[in-house]
Symmetry: C2
Subunit: 805 residues, 2 copies
C-alpha cells in the first residue's frame, strides 16, 4: 500500500481540540487528564465504543503491543512518558496493519513514512497537546482498508451508538461525518413536470424521481445530489442486441460538399402544452420504492447527510416521453429535476391528481454525480447554467456524442461495442416499455422517434451533422456555472479521453472551480481504491460546494491529478492536460525492416483472406497483437506499416494528443486511415482492471452498503507493448468532420489527425512506435475491401506532446 491523501484539511491544536470535542473524544472530564498516556488511553477507550463495557475495551487495548515488551494497556497504565514510537506502534495496529506480517514494533515510524501515512509533528516523548494533535491526525489517516480511521470507527458503530448525540451535519476536518441513520432513510417518489412533450400526447412529460434522504431532512434542509441515469429503471438488453448494426460492410465514396458549421445548428422551437393546473399541495409523497439502482459513492454520501435523487428521464419506466439519446430533451429531463430541487419547478405525487409536492427538505444546493451516460447528462445539464446546480462530479462522460460514436467522418464504435449507435442506446434505455400497457399505448410514437434517430445518426456517411451538433455539449460549455470535477480513465476506450480533454479545455476560461483526475483505468469508478482518498476528496468538495463549509477544498484538491502508468499506487500533479505547449515533431523515418520502400513511399493493403478476416472479426485482441507484433508470418504483416522511433535513454512523459501528419493516397476513391502510438518494451505493466485487495470489504457507513477495496497492480508477467493512443480518419474528411472533400484514387493528400490524448510515461529503454493501417477490427466498419494505401515518407511526421518537466 502507498497512501495518497489530499483531503486532509489544515489544522492546529485549537481546531483539533474543538473538533475532537464535537465528536466526543474530548469533554470536561478529559480536561482534567494531566498525563499523555492517560489521554491516549482515554482516546482508545472512547474509540472502542462507550456502549461496550470497560472490561471489553480494556481487553481490546491489551490485544495491541505498545513496545517489544508491553501490551498497550500495560504500557499506558504505567503513566510513564509516552514515546512517539509507542504511539505509532499502536497507531499502525489501529490502522489494521499487523505486527509481523506488515511491520515490526521498532519500525513503526519508518513504516508510516514508507506507506506515505502522515505523521504528526510532535515532541518525543509526547505531551498532552502532542497526543491531541497526533490523535486528531490519526483519525483522519487512511487505514490499510482504504478509509480514514474515523470512518472505520464509524463503521464499527462509533456514531451509531447514539446518533442523536451528534450535531448534524457534523463537520470533522472539513468533511461531513456519517452521523445519519441509514437504516431509517425516507424513500419517496415524485413526478416532475418537465417542459417537454416528447411523446406528443398534448401533456407535459412527467418524470419520475426517486428520492432518498435522511429523516432529519424533514426538519433541517439538506443538499441534494442528482444522479440522472437512463439505465436506472432497467434496460432492454435483448432489444438493444437485436438492433445492433452489422459493421461488416465497406466504405463508400462520398459526394463532396461545402457544408458549413452554422447551417448545422438548427434549434427548433417547440410549442409546449400548458402546464397542468395544480389542484392541491402536500408534503406527503404517495409512492415509495425499495432497492434502488445505487452507486456506491452516493451511498457513502447518504450516510453523511446528502440526499440522493435518481431520475432516469424521458421514456423510462414510469416516466412519460420517449428516448432521444443525448439531445436537449434529455438535458431538460435532468435540469427539470434540478429546478424542482431548487424550488423552481412543479412536481406531483402521482401522474393523475395534480397534487403538488415541493422539495421542502432541499437546501437548494444541488450537485450531480455518476459515470458514463450519467456523467454525460451532468455536462449536458451544466451547459444550461441551470440555477441551483452548484457542482458536478463527472466520471468518464461524453462531452460530444460525435466523439462517442464517430470520428473524423467515420463510424467508430466505442471500444467493445461494435455496431452500437444512438438508436441502439435509445432502445436499450426505453424502459417505459417494461410496462406492457405503456409499450402498447406509445408504440407508434416510439417507432417514429426511433426511425428519426436512426436516420439522424447517419451511419452512411459518418459525417458530423445537425443530429450530432444537437448532441455536442461543447457548443454551450461557456454557459457552465457549476463547479466541475472530472474523472476519466486514460485507458477508457468506451468514452474516449478526447471527451474529457475537450470539455476541460472548454471550461478553462470560465470562472468556476475545475478539478480533474486522470487514472489508469478503463471505463470504471475509482471510489474504492486503496492508494487515493477519492471519496474523501468528494466529501470535502461537496461539503464545500453544497454545505457551504469553508474547508479550503479548492486548494487542497489538486487541479489535475494523474495516476502514473509505469509504477504501482503512484499519483502526481500536472499543470495542464493536452495543452500542446511543447510539441516535438518527429519524422516517421523508415518503416520496420522488411517493409518495401519504393520511391520513398511505403504501401499497405487492407483486405485479408476470408479466414483471417473472420478470425479478427471474432478476436479483436488477436488482431491488436498481430497489428503490433505480427511478424512476416502474420496476416497483418502487409496490412500496416510500423515506424519505430529511437529507443529512449531517459523516461519521457507524453501529455495530450499526438498528431499524425502524413501525405497519403488510396487506390480507391474512398479511404480511411488509422494510426496507433505504441510503447514497445518488455516490461511489467499495470493490469487493465483494478484487482480486489485482500478481499477487503469497505462499509460505506455503519451496517450500510458496501464496496470492495481495489487497486491496479502490475501484471504477473511482463508484456511486450502497450497501446498509448489511436486515431482514425476518413480521407474525404481531411478538412473536418462535417465537410466532405474529393478523393481521387492514387492521388496524394496531406492528411492530419489527432490521436486520443493521454498522459503516459515512456520508460528509458523503451521505444515508441507509430503504426499506420486502415480497418480497426475493434471499432471501425470492416468491409474487407480491396484497397491499397501509400504513404509518402518524406512529408510524414508525428507530433508528440512531450511534457515540459
Amino acid at each position: 500500500m502507498k497512501n495518497h491523501q489530499y483531503a486532509i484539511a489544515k489544522y492546529n491544536l485549537k481546531i483539533a481540540q474543538k473538533e475532537l470535542r464535537s465528536i466526543h473524544f474530548l469533554d470536561e472530564e478529559t480536561d482534567k487528564i494531566d498525563n499523555p498516556s492517560a489521554l491516549l488511553k482515554h482516546f482508545l477507550m472512547t474509540a472502542f465504543l462507550d456502549s461496550q463495557s470497560i472490561a471489553i475495551r480494556g481487553q481490546k487495548i491489551s490485544q495491541m503491543m505498545a513496545s517489544f515488551e508491553e501490551d498497550a494497556l500495560t504500557y499506558l497504565d504505567k503513566n510513564a512518558p509516552l514515546s512517539k514510537i509507542a504511539f505509532y506502534n499502536i497507531a499502525l495496529q489501529l490502522l489494521h496493519f499487523e505486527v509481523g506480517e506488515d511491520f515490526l514494533i521498532d519500525n513503526s515510524i519508518t513504516k508510516m513514512k514508507t506507506l506515505n501515512l502522515p505523521i504528526a509533528e510532535v515532541n518525543d516523548p509526547m505531551n498532552l497537546y502532542d497526543v491531541t494533535c497526533a490523535w486528531y491526525l490519526l483519525l483522519n489517516t487512511r487505514t490499510k482498508r482504504g478509509i480514514t480511521l474515523i470512518d472505520d470507527l464509524a463503521n464499527e458503530g462509533y456514531f451509531a451508538q447514539n446518533y442523536n448525540s451528534f450535531d448534524k451535519p457534523l463537520i470533522f476536518n472539513g468533511k461531513s461525518m456519517p452521523v445519519y441513520d441509514t437504516s431509517n432513510l425516507i424513500r419517496e417518489v415524485v413526478y416532475v413536470e418537465a417542459p417537454l412533450d416528447t411523446d406528443h400526447d398534448g401533456k407535459l412529460d412527467l418524470l419520475k424521481a426517486e428520492i432518498i434522504r435522511p429523516k432529519e431532512s424533514n426538519k433541517q434542509k439538506v443538499p441534494a445530489i442528482l444522479t440522472a441515469s437512463p439505465y436506472n429503471q432497467g434496460t432492454n438488453d435483448a432489444d438493444g442486441e437485436k438492433l445492433t448494426h452489422n459493421v461488416n460492410y465497406g466504405l463508400k465514396h462520398k459526394t463532396p460538399n461545402q457544408t458549413s458549421l452554422s447551417e448545422l445548428s438548427t434549434k427548433e422551437s417547440v410549442d409546449l402544452p400548458a402546464p397542468r393546473e395544480v389542484e392541491g399541495k402536500t408534503r406527503k409523497a404517495e409512492q415509495t420504492f425499495s432497492r434502488e439502482q445505487s452507486y456506491t459513492l452516493n451511498d457513502y454520501l447518504l450516510a453523511r447527510g446528502f440526499a440522493i435523487v435518481y431520475s432516469a428521464g424521458v421514456g423510462t419506466y414510469e416516466s412519460d416521453g420517449v428516448r432521444t439519446t443525448g439531445d436537449a430533451s434529455e438535458t431538460i429531463s435532468a435540469t427539470a429535476v434540478i429546478e424542482w430541487l431548487a424550488g423552481n419547478r412543479v412536481a406531483f405525487t402521482n401522474k393523475f391528481d395534480n397534487n403538488q409536492i415541493e422539495a421542502y427538505w432541499s437546501n437548494g444546493n444541488v450537485a450531480m454525480s455518476g459515470r458514463s451516460y450519467l456523467g454525460t447528462l451532468q455536462i449536458a445539464a451544466a451547459t444550461t447554467g441551470v440555477e441551483g446546480l452548484k457542482a458536478c462530479l463527472v466520471e468518464a462522460a461524453i462531452s460530444n456524442w460525435y466523439d462517442y460514436y464517430r470520428e473524423n467522418g467515420l463510424v467508430i464504435a466505442p471500444g467493445g461495442f461494435q455496431g452500437e449507435d444512438a438508436d441502439v442506446l435509445a432502445v436499450e434505455t426505453y424502459s417505459r416499455q417494461k410496462s406492457a400497457a405503456e409499450a402498447i399505448k406509445n408504440k407508434d410514437v416510439w417507432d417514429k422517434q426511433l426511425k428519426a434517430i436512426t436516420e439522424g445518426q447517419d451511419r452512411e456517411t459518418g459525417d458530423y451533422n445537425a443530429f450530432w451538433d444537437a448532441r455536442n455539449y461543447l457548443n454551450d460549455a461557456k454557459k457552465i456555472k457549476a463547479d466541475m470535477f472530472f474523472i476519466h480513465g486514460l485507458n477508457d476506450e468506451n468514452v474516449k479521453p478526447i471527451n474529457v480533454a475537450n470539455i476541460w479545455k472548454a471550461v478553462a476560461p470560465l470562472k468556476i472551480s475545475k478539478k480533474m483526475i486522470l487514472h489508469q483505468g478503463q471505463h470504471i469508478y475509482i471510489n474504492a481504491f486503496q492508494s487515493i482518498d477519492f471519496s474523501e476528496m468528494v466529501n470535502l468538495w461537496f461539503t464545500n460546494k453544497l454545505l457551504e463549509v469553508e474547508n479550503d477544498a479548492d486548494n487542497l484538491i489538486p487541479n489535475i491529478l494523474v495516476q502514473d502508468n509505469a509504477s504501482e499506487q503512484s499519483w502526481y500533479e500536472v499543470d495542464d492536460f493536452d495543452g500542446r505547449e511543447n510539441v516535438e515533431s518527429v519524422s516517421l523515418g523508415t518503416p520496420e525492416d522488411g517493409t518495401r520502400v519504393e520511391n520513398n513511399q511505403v504501401s499497405f493493403k487492407d483486405n485479408l483472406s476470408d479466414d483471417d478476416f473472420n478470425k479478427y472479426c471474432h478476436n479483436a485482441k488477436q488482431w491488436q497483437h498481430d497489428l503490433v507484433l505480427g511478424d512476416s508470418q502474420s496476416a497483418m504483416t502487409d496490412n500496416r506499416v510500423i515506424f519505430k522511433l529511437d529507443k529512449l535513454d531517459n523516461d519521457i512523459t507524453l501529455n495530450g494528443s499526438a498528431r499524425i501528419k502524413i501525405n497519403a493516397a488510396s487506390s480507391q476513391d474512398f479511404g480511411m486511415l488509422s494510426a496507433q502510438l505504441v510503447d514497445l518494451g518488455e516490461d511489467y505493466r499495470l493490469s487493465a482492471n483494478p484487482l480486489p485487495v485482500d478481499n477487503t470489504r469497505i462499509s460505506l457507513g455503519y451496517l450500510w452498503r458496501e464496496d470492495y477495496l481495489r487497486e491496479f497492480k502490475f501484471e504477473k508477467a511482463k508484456s511486450p507493448f502497450k497501446k498509448v493512443a489511436e486515431g482514425h480518419i476518413n480521407m474525404q474528411n481531411r478538412n473536418n468532420a462535417y465537410q466532405v472533400s474529393e478523393l481521387e484514387a492514387g492521388h496524394f493528400y496531406d492528411i492530419e489527425f489527432d490521436l486520443q490524448p493521454n498522459v503516459y510515461r515512456v520508460k528509458a529503454g523503451h521505444q515508441l512506435a507509430v503504426i499506420i493501417y486502415a480497418t480497426d477490427f475493434d471499432k471501425s466498419i470492416r468491409g474487407n475491401q480491396d484497397v491499397q494505401y501509400t504513404i509518402n515518407l518524406e512529408n510524414s511526421t508525428i507530433e508528440l506532446p512531450v511534457n515540459k518537466d
Copy 2:
C-alpha cells in the same frame, strides 16, 4: 428459466383463506367482495402496499395488460367474468416476465407450463374461491428473479410497512416469513467456556461467539443457527502460503507393516482445569460487533426470525486456545456453543470478570449451517450426538480428513491446493495471532502445537494413521441424532464427493431425516440458483426442525435430488447414491491405437523432460488436456494408456464409484497408479461455474443484504471431453490405507481402487474412456521419477455403476 419448486406445501381453500388472512390479504372487508375481478383487484391493491396511495396503486395495476385490448385496471374494474388466461397474463407480469420479451399475452398459460411454474386448478372463468386459491399459489410461486412472489413483495416492503401488525413467527405455506426488522437486530458477543485447554494455560478455553438475533427474541424465544467457521475472524494467508509444502519430490519405498485399525484409535483422556467460578449473572452483553463475516443463506434466515451465531473456535481471534485442524478440540469448540445455546454450558460476557450470560432468548433448538470447513464442523458436532442440535445443513463438507488430504496411501491435495496440508490450514486459521499481544504470549505453545500437526499428518508415507483416525468423523457417525441435509457438488475437486458419499452411507441406517442435493458445481454455494428453490427448501426444513411446525418438510423435500449434467436447469430425484446395486464389469480391452501391446501387456512411463515437467507443474489444465487428448506429438503420449469403451447407443447414467481392477507392475520398488474415467464426445457442456443471470440482485429481506442470481449454462462452444471421476493409489497400500505391503520391482500385483463417486449421464453417441497413469500434476506429489508401469490386460477391468433405470 426452468423452475423446480419442492417447497410448496399442500393446501386447500380453507388453508389458503386462513393464511391469506394472516398476511392481511383477506379480512372482514374482503369477505364482502362478491366479484372475482374485484377480489383480484383487491389482492393487487394490497400487494402494491397499503402505504402507497390508491392512485399510485391504481397506476401500478394499469401498467399491466390483462388482455390484448385492456390494461389490468380497466379489465378488472369492469367486474366482468375473470378468465383464467387474464389471471395468468397478470400473474406472469407480477412474476417479472415481460410482455413481448418473455411471453405473449395470449400465451400465458402455456408459458407458465414451459417455465414449470405451478398453475392452480381452477374454473374458467374463475369464481371467488378460484381467485383465492390461485392467488395463494401465485404468492408461493417463484418469480423470474429466483424468489417467491411473497418474498418479492416482502422485499418491496410488504411486511416492512408495519412489522408490528404480523404474528411472529409468521408461517405462510409452511415457511417462516421475513417479518423481522433486519435494521434493528441485536448483535452481541459472548465467551463460551469450552471443556478444553488447548493452549495449556491451566484455564478452560473461552471461545468467542457472535450472536445476531431479532429484537423480538428478548421476549419470545427463537431458534438458533450456528455457523462454526474457523475463517470467520480472519485468516493468515501470507503465513499459510509460506508453510505450503513443496510437492516436487519423489515417491519412496515404504517398509511393509501389519498395522491394525484398532491400534490407531487412541483416545487420550485429558485432565481439564476446573471451570471458572461464576461471579455474577447478567442478561446484558458487554461487547458488540458491526459487519460480521456473513453467509447469505444465514442472512435470508435472519430476516425470518432465526438467530444466527458465528463462532470460530479454538485459536481464533479473541478466543483462547490453538488450532488443531479437525480433531476433537474443534468438535468440542462447536458443541460447546451448541450446549450454551441449549442451556447446558456456561458463557461469560468478557474474558476476565466471570460474569455469566445465558442464551435466555434461545428456544433450545439449534441447527448448523455452512460450507466446506464450516460444513465439516457440522458433521463433527453431529457425531457427538450433542443435545440441542436438531438439524445440520452440510454443504461440501469433509467427513474424513484423510479423504481431504490423502488417498490410498498417497499425499493427494485438494484440487487447486497443491502443497496444502493440515498444518497449513492450522496456520491460516490461527487468527488469534492477529492480536499482537496474543501472538507473542502464545508463541511457544503454538510453535509446539504446529510441529505436532506437521509430524502427525506425516507427508512421508501418506498412510492412514492415528492422526487421521482422530479426524475421521465416520468413526462416530452412528451417534448422530440430528437430522442431516447434505449438499455437495459432483464436480467438487476440493472436498471430493467421496466425503458426502461416505457420510451418506454411514447415516443410512440411522432413524433420522436425511436429505441430499448433488449439484453440478464445484466447491460452491447453491442458494441463489434460478432453477431450484433451495432457500425455500431450507426455510421449510428449518421451520419444521427448529420451529416445530408440521409442514410436511420431510415428504416435500426429495431424499436425493440431482442436477443433470447433460442439460440446463434440470433436476431429478434418484433413489440412492453410490449404492453399487447394478455394477457392470467391463474389460478395459485394448488401448488406443498406437500404444504398444506386448504379451497382452501395456506399459507407460512416468518421467518427462524437464521442460515438459515444468510446463505441467505450472499448467495443470494443459496437463489434463494432454492426458486425455494428447496425440503422438504430446508429451503425455507415453505417460498414460487410454482404453476407450464402446460408443453408446443410448444414454446411460452412472451412479456412484467406478472401480478399477488391474494387474500391474512397477519397474521400481515403489509406485503409484492413477485413473480417470472420461466422457468423450464433442458436445455442449455446463460451465464449470454458475453464471450471473441478467445481473439480477436478490434481496434477502426488505433493504437487507443481497445475493446475485446464478445458474449453470451451457458453455458457448462445444468441448471434446469431460472428466467423470478419478482415483489414485499407492501400490504398497493395495490392501488398505493404513497397511503397507511389499512391492517388488517388476512383480505383478492385483490392485483395486475406487474412483470418486459421481452421478453422471453419458449421452448416446458419446464414449467412456479409462485412462491409467501415475503422476497427477494437479494433486499428487511430482517426483518426475524414472518409473515404468506395466498393466496386464487380461485381468484388468473397470466396474461401472450403471443406474438401474
